[in-house]
Symmetry: C2
Subunit: 466 residues, 2 copies
């Protein structure tokens, strides 16, 4: 493809993205495809000779787009809703155009330095200590895996089978996966009970650690969460940090979702105690308008992280210019995409105040939606609304709630996701897209009410449309 | 940013990328920045309120670009040179525009299905068995980590401290890092000696395994390499597969660089024996014109991979529709960027023949460059040229070679990288950019000759310009 052709098709692609953004409400949120539809529409083998770009872009529009569940849709309210903002997309385009790999400082100084600069900026916004060293990884799962390996390094166990990790029963599955990946026995992942607001109970944590110590096991890592996935609860990090300090255990904070809210002065408290953590993850690709993937990992102990991952013994290190750090020495991945560029575009284009205004809007919308739930006898609120997630349920059976969820998701009107707590099924409505307005939510709420009435009238045959 | 503004700035960014591509030879390959230059040019804190996109793009051009080492430059010949082709960039743009996360089939069917379709296409090109199940990860390091964890799962050790992993002393550092991450003792990574062509010696491997068994240790993983990083040597995979089968040990093949060559009929032999591996990694972001990051992981034992990483016990699995596989169950990462799209754009836009022609060109250029080295009394060739990597050295001291390397890299004319074998320093020239022509290489070779003469004349003060 010549530069001229790239120019032409590049403009076409930009225009498609702009049109897509303008017409995003016309798409069903959840893809209407059935399993295998796309696979069957595509050839079983790749072409032997090249095809024209017009044909590829046609197939993109006609085959790929219908197989997309639209995370950009303002009524995408499942999992944690996200926004890939336009400035972030521009940053991604330039990252692709430059196509550099920042494994070493010199292999592209901009990758290493812009990563350090933007993460210093973000650290200030989040009110974290300036001793925190930051790195960008792909996902929170990878960030948490690095935390667990660093914790293992700090513990320096005689027997890895003795190591025990602690988190609440509401912690994300990536914590257990990180432990398993790092060679920790699944039976040595302790899921500590939570209080009525779904927060880890420090006394239970303390007792579990004492018991494990008494049994000759070695507690090595505690993971606290700021904004859990299921209920957006926040563990009492300050008290947990006391326990971690008392026992000299690595404390990792999973603030992948909730951490971003701390850029609002009135939400800064969600980071209480987090400055005492050994590591913390926050995901700008969730709530800071940055396209996936971009997860930020901070640690107060980069020395331990480097000891875990650098293959060069410390006494042989020569290039210790603190301004020319080689980020490959701080993790298991050699390759490093220029992810900081899109974060830089987003932080500058919106500014702190601009991003704070959007997050504040989400918090207010969540409160308003929660008010609608509280005011409707057919539904009940299931968790405090501390962030932009509303957990609620239809006052009926789990099967009723499943039918309601399936019906609204299959309708294409909105996407919600399920959660289970105390054996009961809940509905999660997560607000995190900058396009989402009060009207969008009102439409979803009206639709839920309508479907709930149908559920009563039909005696539970709401799933007829499946 | 309104869709109209995005359209305007998007076109501007596309035009910048096209201009950049047309003028790529005007840039110095290695950034001339000194450590900290970019950091000092940027504010210490993020802006409180948003800034205009014009200002951001200006800073991109004036501050970021000079801090870039240009992997797109045809004389970027260090590490493994790569190409982020224009069709791949278009795919990346759409991935950013859609901003979906394919953790589950339904969270965007296109991510899961296009990943499976493109990896099936690629599997056919590489001549791998159709029983191989493919997944896309970010980097080969992550792919290899998944291999090591799956190998550990298959071994099901009574004591993880007993597990031993084997690779050649030429294997990539990511193998040792993967082992360390997975909780394997660094002292249990056996680096097996190589023959005169830098290939793992099967007899030494066999002996090492026997010795470890006799000592009560548990061999669990062998990593063979097709195209090592330092010398592009290829281990005898067929013989290694025999040893792996005999001892029931997981065999992983690191074909991150070399594997792509197998799309040429005349190079298909590099994959000999690889169909017997339990897993294999190949990186389209290296030699298949795909922008970073995109690493492909194949395994003949997806059942073991899933057993290692799925937190849902097998007997509780309900959604076993083979057409609606949830890829999150096959690795530690939950998030999954829509990486397959750019691979699909590249495979269709070039076709197999188009990509093969480019790789064939690189192989021929490498042979030609090797011929120049052989024909010049000042230089010597240090390894067979089986792929597109030429390892050579100036017939002088290591210090001379270091000076030569520094001089050509600092000049901005080209970027080469160093390697060390048998205590001697070598220069690596890796061809992998689709823009690289015979003329580009001739210029590099002439420059090397000139610098070598200066080295003699100056009595070794070539580094004066540093």
């Amino acid at each position: 493809m010549t530069p001229e052709e790239f120019r032409r098709y590049g403009h076409e692609v930009v225009d498609w993205i702009a049109d897509y953004s303008e017409r995003i409400r016309e798409y069903p949120v959840l893809s209407r495809n059935k399993p295998g539809d796309l696979t069957r529409a595509l050839p079983g083998s790749a072409p032997e000779t090249g095809e024209p770009m017009d044909a590829i872009l046609n197939d993109f529009r006609n085959l790929i787009v219908p197989a997309i569940t639209h995370w950009n849709h303002p009524a995408f309210l499942g999992y944690f809703a996200t926004s890939g903002s336009e400035p972030g997309v521009l940053g991604e385009m330039l990252t692709a155009g430059l196509n550099v790999n920042g494994m070493l400082w010199k292999s592209s100084p901009a990758v290493t330095e812009l990563e350090q600069v933007t993460l210093s900026w973000l650290r200030q916004w989040l009110g974290l200590p300036d001793t925190f060293f930051g790195l960008i990884y792909d996902t929170a799962s990878t960030s948490t895996l690095h935390a667990v390996v660093a914790a293992r390094q700090m513990a320096d166990p005689a027997d890895i089978a003795n190591l025990v990790l602690y988190c609440s029963e509401q912690a994300h599955s990536s914590v257990e996966k990180a432990a398993v990946t790092a060679g920790i026995c699944r039976s040595n992942v302790r899921k500590i009970g939570v209080d009525e607001a779904f927060r880890l109970r420090p006394l239970l944590l303390s007792n579990a650690i004492e018991q494990d110590r008494a049994a000759g096991r070695q507690p090595f890592c505690i993971v606290a969460t700021v904004g859990t996935t299921a209920m957006a609860s926040t563990d009492p990090v300050e008290q947990i940090a006391d326990i971690a300090a008392l026992h000299n255990i690595w404390l990792h904070v999973d603030a992948a979702y909730g951490g971003s809210a701390a850029i609002l002065p009135e939400m800064a408290h969600v980071m209480n105690g987090c400055g005492r953590a050994h590591s913390l993850v926050v995901n700008p690709h969730k709530w800071l308008l940055t396209p996936v993937d971009l997860s930020v990992f901070y640690t107060s102990r980069p020395d331990i992280l480097r000891r875990a991952f650098s293959l060069v013994p410390e006494y042989l290190r020569t290039e210790d210019n603190p301004e020319a750090v080689n980020l490959m020495d701080y993790g298991f991945q050699l390759g490093r995409r220029f992810r900081a560029l899109k974060l830089w575009f987003v932080m500058r284009s919106y500014g702190r105040a601009g991003l704070a205004e959007i997050i504040r809007g989400h918090l207010e919308l969540a409160q308003e939606f929660a008010g609608w739930v509280r005011g409707d006898i057919r539904f009940e609120l299931c968790a405090p609304v501390d962030f932009s997630l509303v957990c609620f349920r239809y006052c009926g059976s789990d099967a009723d709630n499943q039918k309601l969820l399936d019906a609204i998701n299959q309708s294409g009107t909105a996407l919600l996701s399920p959660a289970v707590f105390g054996g009961r099924m809940l509905l999660r409505l997560a607000i995190g897209n900058y396009r989402t307005t009060r009207n969008d939510l009102r439409r979803v709420w009206d639709c839920l009410g309508l479907l709930a009435d149908q559920l009563v009238l039909s005696g539970g045959t709401l799933d007829s449309r499946r």
